[in-house]
């Protein structure tokens, strides 16, 4: 592990200790965020898969009905029948906050002449198959919107999870170990200085005593 490039002083040590504490707290919070996001994400994605299967099946049904309608009517008639829609769909998009990820919520309302009257054409020139196709299609609409909501949420959450995971890992495997190592280095360096200082003082004391009492000379005379 790389040690941070700092001076081994007491002030840096205090700062580093404080930073390490913050990093640990951040790491814990981010980890919790990641876990919770993952839980929510899996819920969303499970529903997303289900909804997609439903939509795909329903749309295939719609397509086959349209093929039938197209076979029974001329292209121009078909297009003429559909060219001016009676129903208007307005979409209201708001957002929801899931663990600080903004995910969309779609609400839609239809404006039309009346309930059940969605056919934008008279019945004289069109075939019954077209009616069926249009009814089927209007039934898919809520599913389509739900699918959009889920799929976009899943994408946005996946992105956020990836980002959070990177942050967690960077803190856990790089930032925190680096700081710990640096703190250890500074502590050892300071202790070493302290010991050096102590020895020096003891030595000086010895020398001063020697000068004051001249033990060596006395010992030589006494013997």
């Amino acid at each position: 592990m790389a040690r941070l490039n700092v001076n081994p002083t007491r002030m840096v040590l205090t700062n580093l200790k404080r930073r390490l504490q913050t990093a640990r707290r951040g790491h814990k919070l981010l980890k919790d965020k990641r876990d919770e996001l993952m839980k929510k994400f899996l819920e969303v994605v499970r529903e997303n898969r289900k909804e997609r299967e439903i939509v795909e099946k329903m749309l295939m049904d719609v397509h086959s009905r349209f093929v039938m309608a197209r076979a029974l009517m001329s292209d121009t008639h078909l297009e003429e029948a559909l060219i001016y829609p009676k129903q208007k769909v307005t979409l209201k998009a708001s957002s929801k906050n899931v663990m600080s990820v903004e995910v969309p919520v779609f609400e839609f309302s239809t404006e039309g002449q009346g309930e059940g009257d969605i056919f934008p054409y008279g019945f004289a020139n069109t075939s019954g198959e077209l009616d069926g196709a249009i009814i089927a299609l209007s039934e898919v609409t809520p599913h389509l919107l739900r699918l959009a909501e889920l799929e976009k949420s899943a994408q946005l959450m996946a992105d956020e999870i990836e980002k959070t995971r990177r942050r967690v890992n960077a803190l856990e495997y790089v930032m925190i170990p680096n700081m710990e190592e640096t703190i250890k280095y500074i502590v050892m360096k300071l202790d070493e200085n302290e010991r050096g200082n102590l020895t020096r003082l003891m030595k000086v004391k010895d020398m001063m005593l020697e000068q004051a009492h001249q033990y060596k000379k006395k010992m030589a005379q006494g013997s």
């Binding site: 349209f66 129903q87 769909v89 209201k92 969309p104 249009i134 994408q155 946005l156 959450m157 999870i161």
Partner: protein, 107 residues
């Protein structure tokens, strides 16, 4: 108020007009790419694209993947589901979890 657009080949999407979505028939690659950019700017919140068209402009689509709007959703065209829409879901899972853990569940 937001709008909904549908892009794809004419046969696949004509019906959506009847239920009030805005329909943009396109088939060419460049044309579709430009159209998508324009629709995104015009304030469409939701754009459905048929899978056969989506293959051609997957680069343009992935650009909007992580932005909040528009939501681009793939739908099967007349040729049937090609599995690309499902693949996008799988990619999300792989990105978030690191491995696709959901597809095994259903088998």
């Amino acid at each position: 108020m937001h709008k909904i657009a549908v892009m794809g080949d004419r046969d696949s999407i004509l019906g959506f007009k009847a239920i009030g979505f805005d329909v943009y028939p396109t088939e060419g690659q460049e044309e579709a790419g430009e159209l998508l950019a324009r629709l995104a700017q015009d304030g469409y919140a939701l754009i459905y694209i048929t899978e056969d068209l989506a293959i051609k402009i997957s680069d343009e689509i992935s650009r909007y993947r992580n932005s909040y709007f528009p939501a681009i959703i793939l739908i099967p065209g007349t040729k049937g589901p090609l599995g690309i829409g499902m693949k996008a879901v799988k990619e999300s899972v792989e990105k978030a979890v690191g491995a696709d853990i959901l597809s095994q569940e259903n088998q």
